[in-house]
């Protein structure tokens, strides 16, 4: 009998419904809120910039009209699979064109679909079946486009026949803001996911564009609790556990353009004046109309998770047979960051910012036939590849570069310097319950507290001066590879000459990095040069067109590979590094059409005249004493006929202690 009852009980138990009924679908909301640029930068970079404070301020600004919502999506979410929402207009654009040369018919043979709107993909990779009121990890990918594709006309010229044929080929540029990141969300609260320059006009990096805005993506997670269940309020819980309310780190990168004279004074004032104070002063200047805020972008992040963020215009340009474009490449004219935020505030950073719209390069294709021409864009951009250490709670100047005079024009003033700052905000490391316990390696925001010390940073500076050619001997240096004595006195003498206007500062750069890493900063114009041509024909001996292009970088480049780490206590004897410095004094001189036709030879094989480049460069490996400038030597400017000046470069390395 007992066996029978046991069997009945077992059967009934196995047949009962599964335990743990889930609550109704949780919802996730993302808003993109547009805010005047300076207001947003001040809000994001002040001390009281927690998610809660930012959201509260945005709510107030929405109510009084200072901010506006440009996108608002709420979606059901589920732990088992990613949710994808895609909303907007799908516009078809040509992707390939056939070429009927005789009539210059360029017929679209294929096309692709572009979304003008919002695409949001969110995954909640939390274990289990039920979303609980505790913080949840979220993988976030958003792509937002507001502007319609822009029609761009490119010259198309077919050179055969007596008259040749010329027209305009239509192609399209598109615009976008994209972000891929990973963050934590606490149900019932909102967090800032990303910050982007708003893309609201044809060239996002035009200096005199309409008033600039930032778009802040803000997200929140809501769970409907089952009846009778009241989850603890987040604030009370945070207070009871002594945990800061914000769950995520936030990295914000800002680029500010100031006069080169002010930049020289600013860099000279460091480290006595901390970077936080410098930034605050520059922000005040911006509010009073001095200087220019060129970019601000950033996102929430978790240490160890990669972030990729872009904002700008995808500019398409021809690459093959560019006189009648048949293949295209694409370049984002705007701002992009690629970050690997490791522990202890070490950032693996690749940042690119187009400081001005591309200049247009033109090639004539027929003598006395001005309508036959070819165009290519010359991109003008800052590139910063580095490993700056920016501890949580800190603001750091991570890079600076004077705008080379060769890049001035077509919307870009000369004699200005771009300073790049990084702000790293986030919760302070949680205290261990035992003072000597090792840090939890699996805690998302531990920042390594209690484990290895924060490594020291290496700050590298470059100055290039122009002096009369008869002074070249004064500025030579020891042969490469040999021990170089500090050049402090010669540097001081050079600075006096600058003050007396007998020398000119033509390039200045600065980089913050971690030792034993390669890094570079460059502000350059990427120009095309033609290297091969279609030979002229008997029927049209006065025409030719480029068939192969190469790239020439014109501007200033400062690249360093630090070979030996300074000592961890902040005192280092020597910093050993490999370096490459390049500075252009004028745009390359391309051979004229007449020169090309002449150098083609009877068979049209060339060799063709090449572009003349006006630049000086220094490469080498050296050891230098931290804090003391070293002269890299005087170099004539290549390409100049009868040089009248030489360039003299100095580099300095400093070791910067990072607080624990």
């Amino acid at each position: 009998m007992k066996t029978t009852l046991r069997a009945i009980f077992l059967g009934l138990l196995l047949a009962s419904p599964a335990a743990g009924q889930s609550p109704s679908s949780p919802e996730l909301r993302q808003r993109i809120i547009r805010v005047p640029q300076l207001d947003a930068v001040k809000l994001l970079t002040t001390e009281a910039s927690s998610d809660a404070n930012i959201v509260e301020t945005l709510t107030r600004w929405l109510a009084d009209g200072r901010a506006q919502v440009v996108s608002d999506v709420t979606t059901a979410v589920n732990l088992q699979r990613a949710v994808i929402v895609s909303d907007g207009r799908r516009i078809w654009l040509p992707s390939e064109k056939d070429q009927d040369f005789d009539r210059l018919f360029l017929v679209p043979t294929n096309s692709d679909e572009e979304l003008i709107g919002m695409n949001l993909t969110v995954e909640l990779p939390t274990q289990g079946d039920v979303l609980s009121p505790t913080p949840t990890e979220a993988r976030w990918f958003l792509s937002h486009t507001e502007l319609d594709p822009l029609l761009v006309k490119w010259p198309a010229s077919w050179l055969e026949g007596k008259d040749g044929i010329h027209g305009w080929m239509e192609w399209y540029d598109t615009f976008r803001q994209t972000l891929g990141t990973e963050l934590m969300l606490r149900p019932g609260t909102e967090a800032v996911v990303g910050v982007f320059p708003a893309v609201t006009h044809a060239w996002p990096t035009t200096e005199n564009a309409p008033p600039a805005y930032l778009d802040l993506a803000v997200a929140g997670l809501e769970i409907e609790s089952p009846a009778g269940f009241a989850p603890p309020k987040p604030k009370a819980r945070a207070e009871s556990q002594g945990i800061m309310e914000d769950l995520n780190d936030r990295l914000i990168f800002t680029g500010i353009l100031i006069s080169s004279y002010q930049a020289l004074q600013t860099l000279a004032s460091r480290p006595k004046v901390p970077d936080e104070k410098i930034f605050a002063t520059l922000l005040q200047d911006l509010q009073e109309g001095r200087g220019g805020l060129r970019f601000c972008l950033g996102s929430a992040c978790r240490p160890g998770q990669r972030i990729r963020q872009e904002s700008g215009r995808d500019h398409e340009y021809p690459t093959e047979m560019p006189s009648i474009p048949s293949a295209w490449d694409q370049r984002l004219v705007g701002t992009s960051v690629d970050i690997d935020p490791a522990q202890q505030g070490v950032l693996g950073l690749v940042l690119e910012h187009h400081i001005a719209p591309p200049r247009r390069q033109e090639w004539r294709l027929g003598v006395n036939e001005p309508e036959l021409q070819m165009w290519e864009p010359a991109f003008r951009r800052l590139k910063l590849n580095s490993y700056p250490i920016v501890p949580v709670g800190a603001c750091r100047l991570i890079g600076a570069m004077k705008v080379p005079s060769v890049m001035a024009g077509a919307g870009l003033k000369g004699d200005e310097t771009l300073l790049v700052f990084a702000h790293h905000q986030g919760p302070k490391p949680q205290p261990d319950s035992l003072s000597d316990a090792p840090a939890d390696p699996f805690a998302p925001n531990s920042n390594g507290a209690g484990s290895e010390p924060v490594p020291d940073s290496l700050e590298l500076e470059l100055q290039v001066f122009e002096v009369p050619v008869d002074e070249a001997a004064k500025w030579q240096t020891a042969p490469q590879g040999q021990w170089a004595e500090p050049d402090t006195k010669r540097f001081e003498a050079m600075m006096k000459k600058v003050k007396m206007e007998t020398a000119r500062l033509v390039a200045q750069g600065m980089l913050l990095t971690r030792s034993e890493q390669s890094c570079l900063i460059s502000l350059e114009e990427e120009r095309m040069t033609a290297t091969e041509f279609d030979p002229a024909t008997d029927a049209a001996p006065h025409r030719t067109r480029p068939t192969a292009l190469d790239q020439i970088h014109t501007g200033t480049l400062f690249e360093v590979e630090s070979l030996v780490a300074p000592k961890g206590n902040g005192v280092a004897d020597r910093v050993e590094l490999k370096y490459e410095v390049r500075h252009s004094t004028a745009l390359p001189e391309e051979p004229t059409l007449e020169m090309i036709l002449k150098s083609a030879g009877k068979d049209g094989e060339g060799p063709y005249d090449e572009a003349v480049r006006f630049e000086s460069s220094w490469q080498g490996q050296t050891k230098l004493k931290p804090g003391e400038p070293m002269c890299l030597g005087a170099k004539p400017v290549a390409g100049e006929k009868g040089p009248k000046k030489v360039l003299v470069a100095f580099i300095t390395a400093r070791v910067v202690e990072n607080a624990q």
């Binding site: 109704s24 949710v83 210059l104 017929v107 027209g167 809501e222």
Partner: protein, 227 residues
């Protein structure tokens, strides 16, 4: 048969012992899409967050009171855990690419064509057999195209000089106004679940006058189909 053996068989059958497979249960799910002007949404809703069942009721009342375009409803009858696709609307075909006109001709002939449904396509699958009063998960892939596509001209006659000539030597590509959603929706009983709520900006910045709208999509199991 001895009583002991009979009781054991009864327990095994309740616990899922060897049985004859039951036919898959049928259930009907309804997708409802409602759109209201954003100005009306902001005025009526403010910042409050309502349960989906109340929200749907309020929206239907707004649509009725203000004589707006009626909600779009699509019903799908699901059998067990089989996938089902329900469509409502009209298919349009357009050229993705053309051939170059023959010598002497200018008119384009399509070479590649593509079709798109103007309306709603709902692909849905129950992930488990329905059980009374238990939440149920559904895989959902939804595509909704709001209206007939507009078009934009793409010139192929590069040598044409005037705008009129260039327009004459153009093909036309479509522009679809579309909302897609994919993921997993959890439904309980016949209570509606909100899938998505989105602000649609209309022809923002173009000055064409198309106002912003708020579009919401709900999914629910029909009560009658669960009995």
């Amino acid at each position: 048969m001895p009583l002991r053996r009979l009781l054991l068989l009864l327990c095994l059958s309740i616990a899922g012992g060897p049985t004859v497979a039951a036919p898959p249960k049928e259930q009907t799910v309804t997708l409802t899409l409602v759109a209201v002007p954003e100005a009306v949404w902001t005025k009526q809703m403010g910042t409050q967050r309502l349960p989906a069942v109340t929200l749907l009721r309020v929206l239907k009342k707004i649509v009725s009171d203000q004589q707006l375009s009626p909600a779009v409803e699509v019903r799908a009858v699901l059998k067990g855990t089989d996938s089902h696709t329900e469509t409502a609307g009209k298919t349009v075909t357009f050229a993705k690419g053309w051939k170059s006109p023959e010598s002497g001709a200018t008119h384009l002939k399509p070479e590649q064509e593509e079709s798109r449904l103007v309306g709603t396509e709902l692909n849905i699958r129950a992930m488990e057999e329905p059980e009374p009063n238990s939440p149920q998960s559904f895989e959902v892939v939804l595509k909704h195209v709001f209206a007939e596509p507009k078009t934009h001209p793409v010139n192929y006659g590069a040598a044409a000089v005037t705008d009129e000539e260039r327009l004459k030597l153009s093909g036309h590509y479509p522009i679809f106004d579309q909302l897609d959603w994919s993921g997993i929706a959890t439904l309980t009983g016949s209570t509606p679940t909100l899938l998505v709520n989105t602000l649609r900006q209309g022809d923002r910045g173009k000055g064409d006058g198309a106002p912003a709208t708020r579009c919401l999509i709900f999914l629910q199991i029909d009560a009658a189909s669960t009995k």
